[in-house]
Amino acid sequence: AAGVIQSPRHLIKEKRETATLKCYPIPRHDTVYWYQQGPGQDPQFLISFYEKMQSDKGSIPDRFSAQQFSDYHSELNMSSLELGDSALYFCASSPYRAEQSYEQYFGPGTRLTVT
């Protein structure tokens, strides 16, 4: 079965650089979520999109922005990178409430290292 695809899987950037993470949801899933998980930390919700519109926002820094495109893929743009941004970034997708479920399907993550 198709899964959530994230690219790149690994990314190394220097401080103050920018990074773009991409997420391709499962086909027919119209909702996308982004999470950040630092070393030894629990996943932190960043932002979500439904039908290409931002649906909710969590602890996403102002330096980060995201969008969902017409084909439902999403991109997380990160600027002025800081050492503390080093983390695993997960994308998840779900069908919108159609199945009355909280079930989200997570991708393999992008490991971002800021040096």
């Binding site: 996943p43 989200q104 993550g109």
Partner: protein, 112 residues
């Protein structure tokens, strides 16, 4: 979103049944209870979801008492591969389904 409290860690042995209890005293009428499992460096994986009484699937059972202020995830006959972090989430699917808050999960260690 209701706050959840789980034990920080639990130990078990292969073949035993493991029960992880989550407290959610402020659960709202429309809230559902969902459990996720996460292995190191992997994304969380949905285990089970319920609203009241008991729900069972091929992986686990979820017990929810009448007052719904707590819930218990039951893993039958655990194996070494069940060593993971387990998260309990509570939220309203209708209005809060877009914002998923992971609290501090329970780190389960299964020993041989």
């Amino acid at each position: 979103l209701a706050k959840t409290t789980q034990p920080i860690s639990m130990d078990s042995y292969e073949g035993q049944e493991v029960n992880i209890t989550c407290s959610h005293n402020n659960i709202a009428t429309n809230d559902y209870i969902t459990w996720y499992q996460q292995f190191p460096s992997q994304g969380p994986r949905f285990i089970i979801q319920g609203y009241k009484t008991k729900v069972t699937n091929e992986v686990a059972s979820l017990f929810i008492p009448a007052d719904r202020k707590s819930s218990t995830l039951s893993l039958p006959r655990v194996s070494l591969s069940d060593t993971a972090v387990y998260y309990c989430l509570v939220g309203d699917i209708e209005t809060g389904g877009f914002k998923t808050i992971f609290g501090a999960g329970t780190r389960l260690f299964v020993k041989a």
